[in-house]
């Protein structure tokens, strides 16, 4: 397996190598060492590669991932897996703000905590967080699922569209137009599948479901204060 040492190899060379692999290449597994908080590690991967990053990364790691399986054996800075299309990104440690922002698909697993704005404007991504999430998470989330085994900060799901939010712990406050909803059998099944995929040991029955009250979809003068 090729090992790329970021102390020796420039970041652009790493990313160019990951982008330029010929289709059907047998070279599908990479290890990246000494990331030392570098920005944009393994962004724009568009092939079913397996990439293990040994250490902590800075901004935008695994952004726009389309089919890769990228694991960070450390923590991630702001914007990890931003706009992911498909594939899997796993953060063994914590993630900074706006993890999984605008993600269209794929699975983002954060084993530790995620900071503010986790899943902001999510559009189909599934995000599973083992710890807590910060304020304004899933703001304007359009679709996809956010699963939190710990607690959620202030203003969860503000101005939410159709993303589904599942939280096991406490929610400090719900944002505008976000409400607790009934957990029906199909939701328990969905959650079971997500927890299994993420390798998380938790019972779906322990979670509460939150979603949009659908009152802010269209402008209504009576809701002016909430916009």
């Amino acid at each position: 397996m090729p090992v790329i040492n970021l102390l020796e190899t420039p970041l652009r060379e790493l990313n160019a190598k990951l982008h330029n692999l010929p289709q059907g290449s047998n070279e599908t597994a990479f290890e990246v060492v000494n990331p030392r908080g570098s920005h944009a590690v393994a962004v724009g991967v568009d092939a079913p590669l397996t990439i293990d990053v040994r250490g902590s990364v800075g901004y935008y790691c695994a952004g726009m991932n389309d089919g890769g399986t990228i694991t960070v054996h450390g923590s991630a800075g702001p914007g990890v897996a931003e706009n992911m299309m498909s594939g899997t990104v796993v953060i063994e440690g914590d993630a900074s703000q706006y993890a999984g922002a605008t993600g269209r698909g794929g699975l983002l697993v954060i084993k530790g905590n995620a900071a503010s704005r986790c899943g902001i404007s999510m559009k189909g991504i599934d995000i599973v967080v083992g710890g807590n999430i910060g304020h304004m998470s899933a703001f304007m989330g359009q679709s996809g699922n956010l699963v939190v085994l710990g607690d959620a900060g202030d203003a969860l799901g503000d101005s939410l569209y159709e993303a589904r939010l599942f939280v096991r712990g406490s929610v400090k406050s719900l944002g505008s137009d976000c409400i607790e909803k009934e957990m029906r059998p199909e939701h328990l099944g969905l959650l079971r599948g997500l927890l299994d995929k993420a390798g998380m040991d938790a019972r779906p029955e322990e979670f509460k479901r939150y979603g949009s009250a659908r009152k802010l979809y269209n402008f209504n003068i009576d809701n002016a204060e909430a916009y």
Partner: protein, 298 residues
């Protein structure tokens, strides 16, 4: 953007390395702001003496006159260290105000960067690597220090607009963000008799904390008040004679990472700034929470 760093040592054996560690942290963050850079170091303090750090755009003209100006005002100079555009003058602590007045009357183009028993401040326009080398920051030892590399938004790119800002004895502050109510607060603080050198928002934040601590609050209490009174975006790192504090606004969009071991507490705008610190692999690393006051004291 802007990049900020801070290092508060718990282990005395690291003190000779403070300048080097802090310089490396700051240089790493150069691409967050290449306009200007500055570092405040809390070094050794001599009993009864105060250090005044001054800057001049024409050091060869102004610095030879410092000693004679102060002597003429009846203020003996205990030591005078010249470093590029900065000079650190040590005088009796009770003569500090008189010395500032005498220097400002005789040498109007001399600017005071900061004053205190232990603190020295070095800041200039330019890249962090050049600023730390001009002032030989790497050779400095100390107990704690903070640094800043600037991408200017709120005021001009000048030496006085660079951080850290110091508005009280042994107090200084670096800031990533922008305040929206600084003009109001500046007016209120002026009414209390405080004076300002710049139009900069960060200077107001520093002066606000100085005013709060002058009421008898400790650093933690002053930072708590700041959450109520300062509006805008901020991640602050603050130094006092024996303390080190961190505060983020409630929105917390300006990045921050902290690390703590038995030997130090460190702050960086990004984790990149912390990777060369001793024992970082086993440090507790976390993102400071919004609206939460963090402070440590010796």
């Amino acid at each position: 953007m802007c990049g900020i760093v801070g290092l508060f040592l718990k282990d005395k054996s690291l003190e000779p390395e403070l300048g080097t560690l802090l310089s490396d942290m700051l240089v790493t963050l150069t691409d967050r702001g290449p306009d200007s850079a500055g570092i405040a170091i809390y070094g050794s303090a001599d009993r009864g003496l105060a250090k005044l750090t001054v800057q001049s755009a024409a050091p060869q003209r102004d610095f030879p006159k410092i000693k004679e100006t102060l002597s003429a005002a009846g203020i003996p100079v205990a030591s005078l260290h010249l470093k590029d555009t900065h000079a650190v003058v040590a005088i009796a602590a009770d003569k500090l105000d008189a010395a500032r007045a005498a220097l400002s009357a005789a040498l109007p183009e001399l600017r005071v960067m900061g004053a205190g028993e232990a603190m020295e401040i070095y800041k200039e326009t330019g890249l962090p690597k050049d600023v730390v080398s001009r002032f030989s920051i790497r050779k400095m030892s100390g107990t704690h220090g903070i640094g800043h590399t600037r991408m200017a938004t709120e005021s001009a790119v000048t030496t006085l607009g660079a951080h850290p800002f110091s508005t009280g004895s042994d107090q200084c502050l670096v800031h990533n963000g922008s305040l929206s109510n600084h003009n109001n607060i500046r007016r209120e603080l002026k009414r209390l008799g405080m004076s300002f050198e710049t139009e900069n928002d960060t200077e107001v934040a520093a002066a606000y904390l100085t005013a709060e601590m002058a009421k008898g609050k400790n650093l933690g209490q002053a930072l708590t008040s700041a959450l109520d009174d300062l509006d805008g975006f901020f991640t602050f790192v603050v130094g006092t004679r024996n303390g080190f504090g961190v505060l983020r606004d409630p929105i917390a969009c300006k990045p921050a990472v902290m690390a703590e071991t038995d030997r130090y507490v460190a702050f960086g705008s990004e984790y990149r700034a912390l990777v060369n610190l001793p024992g970082i692999a086993n440090a507790r690393v976390w993102e400071p929470e919004p609206s939460t006051v963090y402070f440590w004291e010796h």
